[in-house]
Amino acid sequence: MAAPLNLFTVGQRAMSAQLVRMNAAASNLANAGSVAASEAEAYRPIRAVFATEFDRASGLGTVRVGGIQRSEEAAVKRHEPGHPLADENGDVWEAPVDENAEMVEMLDASRQYRNMVEALSTAKQLMLETMRMK
């Protein structure tokens, strides 16, 4: 059985989950505009899907990355006969990455990460005050 959750494990796991989310968005951004020789080979954006882990003993709920989902979006076909990766029709397949959506995703992840840090530091300060009480 897993150890009961405390405030700090909740915070740590939430921050790692946000980091996974940010990494996924960064991978997508890095692959924006990359092309492949066929539709199957083209890069598809990934997304972290979060799930709650509830601990009945302490009444706390933390978050874990339930899985990484690959988007089903179709690759964008572009006619470019001069491209070295072009198929017999002269087409290349571009990764369907929406840069704006990825930027928003990253912004949201970093905001939530920061929120978590702030909440943790407040909680830590209160705990320290309680411990120092004589």
Partner: protein, 115 residues
């Protein structure tokens, strides 16, 4: 925490401390699909605790799901502004309660020393 020594403040501090955890859980799950934000109704928990319930029962009985201001598409009911406000309010109240407990300890030590 001894009820006789700290009176209402000891119990209040317990509930405030648990509420920090519940609100932190909400903030942690701000991006989890289908997560339902919870909060402890402080007044209800405190009066249940003062009427003699043990701390787990009092806090479980007073834990409520938050009514979202606006429903989101993925079923998550965490509203960051609400959570941050509640967290700040709770932290200040925790500090205040801690102050009361500390001054109680101080007056007791003074009494023990016979100053």
């Amino acid at each position: 925490m001894s009820a006789g020594l700290f009176g209402i403040h000891g119990r209040a501090l317990e509930i405030r401390s648990q509420r920090i955890g519940v609100l932190t859980s909400n903030i942690a799950n701000a991006a989890t699909p289908g997560y339902k934000a919870r909060d402890i109704d402080f007044a209800a928990a405190l009066s249940a605790r003062l009427s003699g319930q043990d701390s787990d029962a009092a806090m479980n009985g007073a834990t409520r799901f938050r009514v979202p201001i606006m429903a989101s598409l993925d079923g998550n009911t965490v509203d960051m502004a609400t959570e941050q406000g509640a967290f700040a309010e709770n932290a200040v109240a925790y500090s205040a309660t801690l102050g009361f407990v500390a001054s109680r300890v101080e007056s007791l030590t003074r009494a023990l020393r016979g100053e």
